[in-house]
C-alpha cells in the first residue's frame, strides 16, 4: 500500500454489498469499503457519496463503528443524486470521499447518562452511537432514546429497536399520526422527554433531525436542566467539498463540513435564530 495520503477530493471506488429498503424512498446501502476504511470513523461523521455521472451528496455514516470495513449509509431519495444512489443494487459501483467532519462527543458522555433524541431520518447519524452504546453498555450510565417520526410506517430501523431495548437502552418512540394497530405513543417527540429518565446534572444529549425538531427538543432538554454546552446537534447545510475549501456550507462563522456537522447548542443557538442562515 502506498504511504501517500489519500486525496480527500478523490472518490474511492466501492461496491454495494447489500441494499435494504427501509421505507418508501429510503434505502440503506452497505458498502464494501476500501482499505482506507480500516482507519474507522467517528459516529456523527459523514461521507460524500458519488453516483457516477450524476453527482455527489453528503450522507451521514449510519453503520457500526466496531465494523469500519463496512460502510453503511441510509439515504432518502429527494433529488437526482440521492435518487440515483437509492437505485443502486448489490455489485454496483459508486464513489466515496471521507469520512469528514466532527463526531458526537461520546468520550464526554463516558460514565454519564446519554440522551439521544432523533426525528425522522435523523436517527441514521445516531445509529452508530446507539450501536456503540449497545455494544459497550457499561461505558455509560442510563442511555435513553427519544425517537419521533411522522407515522408508524416511517419508523426507521424498526427491526432494531427491540435489540436496543434488550441491550439496556431505554427506547421511546412516538408518531405524529397513528394508524390502526399502532400501540405506541402518539404525540411530538418533546412530550416523551421526562426529567426522571436521566440525571440532568451530568447527562450529555445528542440531537439529530430536522432543525425545527432539534430547536424544540433542545429547548425542552434545556428546560429539564441539561446545560447548553452538553446538548449537541448535527447540523445540515449544503456540504460540497467536505474539507472546508468551497464555503458552500458556511453557517455564520463556521463551516459545517469542517467545524461540524456536530456542534454544541452553546455554539449554534445564536445562529439558529438568524433566518438568513
Amino acid at each position: 500500500m502506498s504511504n501517500v495520503p489519500a486525496d480527500p477530493m478523490l472518490p474511492r471506488p466501492v461496491r454495494v454489498l447489500e441494499r435494504r429498503r427501509e421505507m418508501e424512498g429510503v434505502v440503506t446501502l452497505v458498502l464494501e469499503g476500501s482499505p482506507q476504511e480500516q482507519d474507522g470513523f467517528q459516529p456523527g461523521q459523514f461521507n460524500m457519496l458519488y453516483a457516477p455521472g450524476v453527482g455527489e451528496v453528503p450522507i451521514s455514516i449510519s453503520g457500526d463503528p466496531a465494523e469500519p470495513a463496512q460502510l453503511t449509509h441510509t439515504i432518502r431519495s429527494v433529488g437526482q443524486v440521492s435518487h440515483a444512489l437509492t437505485r443502486l443494487q448489490p455489485g454496483d459501483q459508486l464513489g466515496v470521499r471521507g469520512p469528514f467532519g466532527t463526531g458526537w462527543p461520546l468520550s464526554d458522555a463516558a460514565g454519564s447518562d446519554l440522551v439521544v433524541a432523533a426525528g425522522g431520518l435523523g436517527l441514521a447519524p445516531l445509529r452508530p452511537v446507539l450501536l456503540a452504546a449497545a455494544g459497550n453498555r457499561s461505558r455509560f450510565g442510563r442511555v435513553v432514546l427519544y425517537y419521533g417520526t411522522r407515522s408508524p410506517d416511517t419508523v426507521l430501523y424498526s427491526g432494531e429497536l427491540e435489540a436496543w431495548r434488550a441491550a439496556g437502552i431505554d427506547v421511546h418512540v412516538t408518531v405524529d399520526r397513528a394508524a390502526p394497530g399502532w400501540k405506541g405513543e402518539v404525540g411530538v417527540v418533546t412530550q416523551l422527554m421526562r426529567a426522571e429518565h436521566f440525571d440532568a446534572g451530568s447527562a450529555v444529549a445528542l440531537l439529530c433531525g430536522p432543525e425545527i425538531m432539534m430547536h424544540f427538543s433542545a429547548q425542552t432538554l434545556s428546560g429539564l436542566g441539561i446545560p447548553q454546552a452538553r446538548i449537541h446537534l448535527s447540523m445540515e447545510r449544503n456540504m460540497n467539498c467536505g474539507v472546508g475549501l468551497c464555503g458552500h456550507c458556511q453557517f455564520g462563522p463556521r463551516l459545517v463540513c469542517r467545524d461540524g456537522p456536530v456542534f454544541s447548542l452553546e455554539q449554534v443557538a445564536p445562529l439558529m435564530k438568524i433566518k438568513e442562515l
Binding site: 453527482g55 451528496v57 433529488g79 443524486v81 440521492s82 400501540k183 402518539v186 412530550q191 430536522p210 425538531m213
Partner: protein, 162 residues
C-alpha cells in the same frame, strides 16, 4: 380508596407550590381510581364531570368514528392532567380516554371543583392558571405536529445537490 390529603396532592408537579387551603379544596373533590388496561376513564360524548391526573400508567385519547377503528389522537403519561372539557359549557367529553396499561389516577369531580372555584376566586385563578399552562402546552404540541416536524430538512437545497 384512601382519603386524599393536601400532602398527597402537593407531591404532584401540577400542584407544586399551591396553598394548603387550595389543596384541601381540591382534595375534597378528589379520589384515587384504578383502571385496567383497555378500560375507559372518560367516554366520548358523555357529560364531562371529571378530570384525571394520571399518577401511574398512560392513556390514549381516541376518536371514535362509525365504521372505522378508533383513531388515537394522542397519548398521555403519568403526571399529565386529562380532561379539559368540563370547564366550559356544554361540558361534553370530546374523546374516549382509554388506559393503555394499568392506570392509577386522581379523579377530580369537576362539579365539586367548579363550585369550590366559584366560592373562592383565588382558587379559581390559581387552578385556571395551571390548567391553562396544560392547555397551552398541548396546543403547542399540536401545532408542532401540524408543522410536519420530521419533514425532510434539506428541501431548501437546490435539486442537483439533494
Amino acid at each position: 380508596m384512601n382519603r386524599i390529603t393536601p400532602t398527597m396532592l402537593a407531591e404532584q408537579s401540577f400542584f407544586h407550590g399551591m396553598e394548603e387551603a387550595h389543596l384541601q379544596s381540591i382534595a375534597d373533590c378528589s379520589r384515587l381510581e384504578q383502571y385496567d388496561a383497555g378500560s375507559l376513564l372518560l367516554h366520548q360524548g358523555e357529560e364531562a364531570d371529571a378530570a384525571h391526573l394520571l399518577l401511574e400508567g398512560s392513556v390514549a385519547l381516541e376518536l371514535t368514528v362509525p365504521g372505522r377503528e378508533p383513531l388515537v389522537v394522542e397519548t398521555l403519561a403519568a403526571g399529565e392532567l386529562v380532561g379539559a372539557s368540563w370547564l366550559l359549557p356544554p361540558a361534553r367529553v370530546h374523546f374516549d380516554v382509554r388506559a393503555r396499561n394499568d392506570v392509577i389516577s386522581l379523579r377530580i369531580a369537576t362539579d365539586c371543583l367548579r363550585r369550590a372555584m366559584e366560592q373562592d376566586s383565588s382558587l379559581g385563578y390559581v387552578f385556571c392558571r395551571r390548567f391553562m399552562a396544560v392547555v397551552v402546552r398541548r396546543l403547542q404540541a399540536t401545532r408542532l405536529r401540524l408543522m410536519d416536524l420530521y419533514g425532510h430538512p434539506g428541501l431548501f437545497l437546490p435539486e442537483e445537490r439533494r
